[in-house]
Amino acid sequence: MSDNNNKLNGSPQTNGAAVSNGTPKIGFYVCHCGHNIASQVDVEDVQKFASELPGVAVSRDYKYMCSDPGQELIQKDIKELGLNRIVVASCSPLLHEHTFRTAAEKAGLNPYYFHMVNIRENVSWVHDNKESATKKAKDLTRAAIQRVFFHKALEKKTVPINPDVLIVGGGIAGITAALTIANAGKHVYLVEREPTIGGHMAMFDKTFPTLDCAACILTPKMSAVKSHPHITMWTYSEVEKVDGFVGNYRVQVKRKPRYVNEELCVGCMECIDACIYKEAKYPDEFNQKLSKRKPIYIPFPQATPQVVLFDPETCIDFKSHRCKKTCIEVCDREAIDLKQVPEYKEINVGTVILTTGFKTYDAELSPQYGYGRYPNVYTSLEIERLVNASGPTAGEIINKDGIKPKSVGIIHCVGSRDQKAHKWCSKVCCMYSLKLAHLIKEHTGAQVYNFYIDMRTPGKGYEEFYDKLMTEGVHFVRGRVSEVTDWALVPEEENKLTIRVEDTLIGVVRRVPVDMVVLAVGLEPRVDADDIRRMFNISCSNEGWFLERHPKLAPVSTFTDGIFIAGGCQGPKDIPDSVAQAGAAAAEVLSLISAGSIELEPNTASIMEDHCSGCKSCIPLCPYSAISYIEDSKKAYINEALCKGCGTCVAACPSGSITQNMFDDEQIFSEIDGLLKFAGIELEETEGEHA
């Protein structure tokens, strides 16, 4: 109890014997940040207030502290006035802590004698009463000044970076990142959940606005991944477990059984022909279930790897064990192994790039458009397969009844910009709708109508593509479609789907009968995106997209060091953007690998052996098993290499025998005390009591 009393009553005072790190000579600097801070906080008042606080040797205000002259101001004062503590009141430490620490370090001061006060994000930007904002800024300042008394010189922790890289997701983003890194001579593990790499792009027929054939530009890259000496490609595999930290992640990958030996299979597909099912009868996932496949299949002709796989749900032998196994008989390479079991691979990597992609909106959730109810209502992804020469109809655009449509309506923003579905713009739908309009017109000569809310075509060559479509005779109707119905009001609507829409440009409600409806479905996070991000310990936005460290300045980094994101998992984006992000993520990874090591914050915890009673309370609390019990000394011991510095054990130690660098008890108590001094409480002088 006496210990508690000490903590409760003997709050650290800013004078006296409590200070063990030399007599503090504090330099305080408050930033105007142009008008960002100065408009809501009386900066001069804060500067004057700080100058009168104990320990403060110099207090200054400056227009932009983070600018070179601002930093030089600090450095000059450190050298000339012999400052040994620096406090800067400016923006968030998440933004500029590093800047000022480096500045202090360059002037010969240990960077951990620096502390930052956030009076922009936490004060000036969120309050609109200058008086109370200034008061708050002063309180925060006082807390920081009291805190730095207890700062210690610390050494940064350096950890080596394992040069191997894990990339999760083998779409165009994952492929690009893998090739970039592998071409630099670093080893890449590319893990893909599906039986083939290629992702969504492999399903597309053409790409906007250049109308390049998607397969023609993608498949060479897929083959390059497969044959690259520095890439280990694991398809039909999933990451199961991730441990460790930047530079040293341990990852477990589950390789799902294909029931075909990947090393032996050459992709001759004779087994598929030999299957006792003479007709394919199960929905083909790759073709959006518009065609059928057999229980043994290959997703598409250019699948990489060119290896067949079994679907145990539909294969007779898995269900009854009574199949004649004609597939095995025909395979002269003896590649088929129906007893295959999942294989678990353990790998060590230094960095990870997540390129897990997106999914398209489920159009059945917007029932007004009739998807799932009317057979001739398709999603855009289904049309991509229909247009594709290797698709279910060999490139012929025909309705499910086999009739070529004479008129087609493309409905934009299905699931996007919709308060009932997703609020966001999916960014790619306008452009792919234009592309599909062009392709449908080219293939069928049909009348094509685009029903749009706004046409969004920012991008190189995009607006020009839109212009081109208008000259091609594609109709554009501005208005959100209210419903698609087969209820005919006039003879022309008989046996057709009628699109009801308010044409907002001419101000009338129109009924447009068509033979085929295409829903431009939006993009949304994958169903299990949440599980993936938790496994890799990263955050997501409210919508479920993976969260970048900074939307502008660190768009592919995450809050977890060594984990990067690229492509559709971070938010809707088209192929050029995904490829660009993948390149950026690869560059981030290569820069870490090239540096060879990374400096980590030295905020680790340690045991004060003299005080530890060996009660073992802390041991089960540590999520990293960094704490062990030393039998000989009957004390706990923290392995600093494993400690990540959360401080949970520090808070839990009943005898207060664990300290944490940068977040020590006395530092936080002094901060609390400093914050609340404005309550008008002047605690008694308890000089020496704390020591």
């Binding site: 508690n4 009393n5 903590k7 409760l8 009553n9 709050s11 968030s92 430490p93 998440l94 956030n118 922009r120 994000e121 936490n122 004060v123 930007w125 969120v126 309050h127 609109d128 009463n129 109370s132 008061k135 708050k136 309180d139 925060l140 807390a143 938790r534 310990n537 955050s539 997501c540 936005s541 409210n542 969260l547 809050f559 977890t560 905020n603 609390l621 999520p623 990540k644 510095g645 959360c646 401080g647 949970t648 520090v650 808070a651 839990a652 944490q660 977040f663 008890d665 936080i668 108590f669 901060e671 609390i672 005390d673 914050l675 609340l676 404005f678 309550a679 008008g680 409480i681 605690l683």
Partner: protein, 167 residues
């Protein structure tokens, strides 16, 4: 201070402990988004809500805070796997203790606020300030002063040998 004056001019003081990865980042987001909230809160940044020692909370109350707010990552989202669960356990125990000390339940609040929930930072702080305004000042330091004054008036011999609570 007369009661009426307290009611009119009373601005509660909240000490907040925000974890670096979720809630502190959310508070930054609230700033960048220029969301306006009550200026009664003073934030202390810690790496994880698991670092919050119950003594920090008691110290804050003892030094004059009217409320203490702890912000951590959502369950399952903790940057350090499970620090927020450890905080939750301590929070529940401490709440019981505060109750027996006569400190109203609403003075201590634990919220899961993820890095993207700037809006929640605003609404939680505003709501808590409103609730504390209804409760009025906690004023533990003043009460302790008063107790100490009263103790002085009691003849020495009547005071037990132990030291009073507030030395």
């Amino acid at each position: 201070m007369p009661d009426s004056e307290i009611k009119n001019n009373y601005e509660p003081k909240i000490v907040a402990f925000f974890c670096n990865w979720c809630t502190y980042t959310a508070a930054d987001l609230a700033g960048v988004s220029r969301l306006k909230y009550a200026p009664n809160v003073r934030v202390i940044r810690i790496m994880c809500s698991g670092r919050v020692d119950p003594q920090f909370i008691l110290q804050a109350f003892a030094s004059g805070a009217d409320g203490v707010l702890i912000g951590g990552c959502h369950p399952g989202d903790c940057h350090y796997s499970e620090g927020n669960y450890k905080m939750l356990r301590r929070f529940r125990l401490l709440k019981r203790m505060l109750k027996s000390l006569g400190i109203a339940e609403k003075r201590l609040r634990l919220e899961w606020i993820s890095a993207s929930e700037g809006e929640k930072v605003k609404s939680v702080i505003n709501e808590m300030v409103e609730q504390l305004k209804v409760l009025g000042p906690l004023a533990i330091p003043q009460s302790l002063d008063k107790i100490n004054e009263e103790l002085k008036e009691i003849p020495e011999e009547e005071i037990r040998e132990e030291e009073p609570a507030h030395a």
